[in-house]
Amino acid sequence: MEKVISVEEVSSFFKDGMSIMAGGFMGVGTPEKLVSALLDSNIKDITLIANDTAFVETGVGPMVANNIVKKVITSHIGTNPETGRKMIAGEIEVDLVPQGTLAERVRAGGSGLGGILTPTGVGTVVEEGKEKITVDGREYLLEKPLRADVALLKAYKADKAGNLVFHQSARNFNPIMALAADLVIVQVESIVEVGEIDPNDVVTPGILVDKILV
């Protein structure tokens, strides 16, 4: 199966109302070209799952600023004033999740787990509406899996089979989101032939990657 696509093909994967996971931490490790293609594709009512909503102009920030997002599931919105403004105005719904819990929920969604028990958030508003389970005398919150229709990821290098390696702190949520979406599209800085990445160095195996944009 040919995985390498052109930027023109990207928009065909988007639909109104879909859920989208996007890699990145304050824009670092976010696939800007894929976000840009999403903005151009004129869709709406997206549920966005991302570590943070970055800045108005960078990362996933423009998705929020450009009114295509209905709901955000994220750990931090403080650097993008548009997210807070729209939330207070009732224009978008924001579900704030502790960062480690967000990572665990995405991994659970991609790993066939029904959830994980975390001590994070016990005794805070985070526990509202969640089941509390005591294991060996300590209370934990049952946090449920998260999945998305599409994951928009960024990697440093891919081979044509989709094997990925990442660069510096741009790795962040990208590898776990590769497990947790029905369609995984990755923007890479360079692409090499199959066999050129040492199998010991692969971080995300190609079987998880559906489409590659250079």
Binding site: F25, M26, G27, V28, G29, N51, D52, T74, S75, H76, I77, G78, T79, G84, M87, V94, L96, P98, Q99, G100, T101, L102, A103, E104, V106, R107, T118, P119, T120, G121, V122, G123, T124, V125, V126, Y156, F166, H167, Q168, S169, A170, R171, N172, F173, N174, P175, I176, V203
Partner: protein, 216 residues
């Protein structure tokens, strides 16, 4: 020695630095806590964990790499012996007790070791980011903050009024006036900062506290 520290934040950071042990794995919150490494005693070096995905956070060296930022999104560096990983692994380290010390700011702290520092309802809703995991998972939680708010209101309370970041999680509170430990019996004033008297601390603290007998 520390009389040259004219700035409140520097006084706090310098005192926090004295809590560090050589080889500690430390996560520093944004703002004041990032000043701590400047004041580490001789012979003490710590390993900084950055929750966006690495161990060995250091200053920028050479050209700025857009793929290398700290947890505040600012350009950063990595020291020799460091390692990158994904967000999942980063929080495995944090939640799993592999981080020795975390230093965070606070909006309110109380006598039960509760901390509030992530939201002022209706006013400021940045989100908790990694703070809830850090206070839950790190072996030692130090709140480093100015003793009172900008308006002059006490931030050390009998009970936090703002939504909590963590319940019963704080070990030590360090301000420009004093150092408190949180014990099962409530707060204990462990130290007065240089030139500060007990009455000042009492006046500016809205929680009852015991006083360590070592304080004259």
């Amino acid at each position: 020695m520390i009389t040259t520290l004219v700035n409140t934040k520097e006084v706090i950071a310098a005192r926090v630095a004295r809590e560090m042990k050589d080889g500690d794995v430390v996560n520093l919150g944004i703002g004041l806590p990032t000043l701590v490494p400047n004041y580490l005693p001789k012979g003490v070096s710590v390993i900084l964990q950055s929750e966006n995905g690495y161990i060995g956070l250091g200053p920028v060296t050479g050209e700025i790499d857009p793929d290398l930022v700290n947890a505040g999104g600012q350009p950063a560096g990595i020291l020799p012996g460091g390692a990158f990983f994904d967000s999942l692994f980063s929080f495995q380290l944090i939640r799993g007790g592999h981080v020795d010390v975390t230093v965070l700011g606070g909006l309110e702290v109380d006598a039960k070791g509760n901390l509030a520092n992530w939201v002022i309802p209706g006013k400021m809703v940045p989100g908790m980011g990694g703070a809830m995991d850090l206070v839950t998972g790190a072996k030692k939680v130090i709140v480093a903050m100015e003793h009172c708010s900008k308006k002059g209101d006490p931030k050390i309370l009998e009970e936090c009024q703002l939504p909590l970041t963590g319940k019963g999680v704080v070990d030590l509170i360090i301000t420009e006036l004093a150092v408190f430990s949180v014990t099962e019996d409530g707060l204990v004033l462990e130290e007065l900062q240089e030139g500060v008297d007990l009455d000042t601390v009492k006046e500016k603290t809205a929680a009852t506290f015991k006083v360590n007998p070592n304080i004259a």
